[in-house]
């Protein structure tokens, strides 16, 4: 059932210096300008370039309004950039596709479908047989900890449960890249921690590429291989930090690990400095 990604673009890589893993997403000098009124323009993203390796967990961290969501929407193909280009496996991204699965902060579940109906939607659309889609979806629902809720409607679920359904719904159609926009931002601290652990477990099992937008420094360091720090007005990449911490990561071990603590403190300090240096917008 699972599609094996094609490697037909390997020759492109061979020209550039060898890398440990092949790039799956390339963001190439992407800028985004929004027209805010008849005369005014707003530069939301300025010349963003970023390469994401296959199987990497990459977080985008930055203040509110720095263009994190916009960048994610461009990779998703939901928004086309004003200039520059995003590519997946060497192909220009022009529209959404099942190779990139979004998980939105607003959940965006289909309210007229039950939990099971939501999760089955993608596989059915992809032509998976109903009995098979049903079995796979039930397994996914169990994996995200919602066994017993298959026939509930979204309005009957809490925020944390909806977020789990949204994750399961996207995982169900096996996207190669997960695009997650502050998926845990609206949740209470306890639920948030649990979902972070669950996401990490799922990810460490099948190693999908994840592009993960967040406000939270802890969350970014805990989950990621790489943290992309952005700054605001215009949205730019400030710094890209490799998080060199062992996996599988366990929360209780990591929180005591001085290396983890140093990453968190360093990143927070860098944001503080830019706040002081930055002129009011």
């Amino acid at each position: 059932m699972k599609v094996v990604p094609s490697r037909s673009n390997e020759w492109v890589r061979s020209v550039t210096p060898p890398k440990p893993a092949s790039a799956i997403i390339e963001i190439d000098r992407v800028s985004q300008v929004f027209q805010t009124s008849a005369r005014k323009h707003h530069l939301a993203l300025s010349e963003i370039s970023l390469t994401i390796e296959e199987g990497a967990f990459v977080s985008i961290l930055g203040p509110s309004g720095c263009g994190k969501s916009t960048l994610l929407y461009i990779v998703g193909g939901f928004v086309s950039p004003t200039s520059g280009a995003a590519r997946i496996k060497g192909q220009a991204i022009t529209r959404p596709g099942p190779d990139r699965g979004p998980v939105f902060q607003e959940f965006a579940l289909f309210p007229w479908k039950t939990v099971l109906g939501n999760v089955m939607y993608g596989p059915l659309q992809q032509g998976v047989r109903a009995s098979e889609a049903d079995a796979q979806s039930r397994a996914l629902i169990e994996m995200v900890g919602l066994k017993g809720y298959e026939n509930f409607y979204p309005k009957e679920l809490s925020g944390g449960m909806k977020q789990r359904v949204a994750l399961a719904r996207t995982l169900a159609y096996h996207p190669e890249v997960l695009l997650m926009d502050e998926p845990f931002g609206a949740l209470d601290a306890h639920t948030r921690t649990r979902l972070q652990n669950d996401l990490l477990n799922i990810w460490e099992r099948d190693r999908k590429t994840v592009l993960f937008v967040t406000h939270s420094v802890d969350e970014a360091v805990f989950l990621s291989d790489k943290v992309v720090m952005m700054s605001k007005s215009p949205g730019r990449i400030r710094q890209v930090i490799d998080i060199d911490l062992p996996r599988p990561r366990r929360r209780n071990e990591l929180l005591l690990d001085p290396r983890y603590q140093k990453y968190v403190v360093d990143i927070e300090r860098m944001f503080d400095e830019s706040d002081k240096a930055g002129s009011p917008s």
Partner: protein, 261 residues
């Protein structure tokens, strides 16, 4: 065993009807006017109408026109409203047209339509169609406009084409709003049905009513008003049953309490 709240809710409509009839009875007795029969006189005239084959055929002919006018209007208006809600170009084209038609009483167009299409079924059905279309278009439009964009994006990521998104995401997501429009449309269908038969007298429930009025048979007039009213209540209740079943997923679960004291 029914809770007191459920019981009250169940019998409330019956209480309202009985109350109305009582007020009518008292008012009629007090006024002593020939053209205002008592409720009991009017109710007594109902079996005569419903027992008469000619009248029954008339009423059924009305209902048939209404069903066709309503059905065609819904089938036409929902797709149009949804398209308008999702495409600015389509909305920009149709909005001015609808704004022109909106304030015109549809029955006022009847004399003109009669000149073109005669006084038969086509004219009356067309007027019903016009009466029903606008609220259904309007509510479908508003419903489609309000569909959360991220929901459409999720569908696009799963590989749904634009048409599939319209049918399989916009339509169900806007359904509660669409059905609100259809409910208004149903009432308007009944109203335009009667007015069309008032203008083009030939057959129908409206014809019985206005003929009786001409001949001074006031108990028949009021009996017909009761019959038409009852038809309205029944259709509306039936429709609400269907609606509630279709959009159970969106209904609030609890009554809104007026106070928490």
């Amino acid at each position: 065993m029914m809770s007191p709240a459920t019981l009250t809710r169940r019998i409330a409509p019956a209480l309202a009807c009985v109350g109305l009839l009582m007020v009518w009875q008292v008012a009629s007795l007090a006024l002593k006017n020939d053209s205002f029969p008592t409720a009991i006189e009017a109710i007594r005239a109902i079996p005569d109408i419903l027992g008469d084959k000619e009248s029954l055929i008339n009423i059924l002919a009305s209902l048939r026109r209404m069903a066709i006018g309503f059905g065609v209007a819904v089938l036409f208006s929902i797709p149009l409203g949804l398209l308008m809600g999702r495409s600015r170009a389509v909305a920009a084209f149709f909005n001015p047209l609808l704004m022109i038609i909106y304030p015109v009483p549809k029955a006022a167009l009847m004399p003109i339509i009669m000149l073109w299409l005669g006084v038969g079924d086509v004219t009356k059905t067309l007027v019903i169609f016009l009466g029903v279309s606008l609220p259904v278009i309007y509510h479908s439009f508003e419903g489609a406009k309000a569909v959360e964009e991220k929901m459409l994006w999720s569908g696009a990521a799963m590989g749904l084409s634009p048409l599939q998104r319209l049918v399989r995401i916009v339509l169900p997501a806007a359904l509660p709003e669409i059905l609100t429009g259809c409910r208004t449309g149903l009432v308007l269908a009944l109203i335009t049905m009667i007015t069309s038969e008032m203008i083009a007298r030939q057959s129908g429930a409206g014809n019985i009513l206005f003929n009786a009025l001409d001949m001074g048979q006031y108990d028949t007039v009021f009996a017909m008003i009761i019959i038409v009213g009852a038809m309205g209540i029944c259709l509306d209740a039936l429709f609400d049953q269907v609606r509630a079943r279709l959009v159970r997923w969106s209904e609030p679960q609890f009554d809104m309490p007026l106070s928490f004291s």
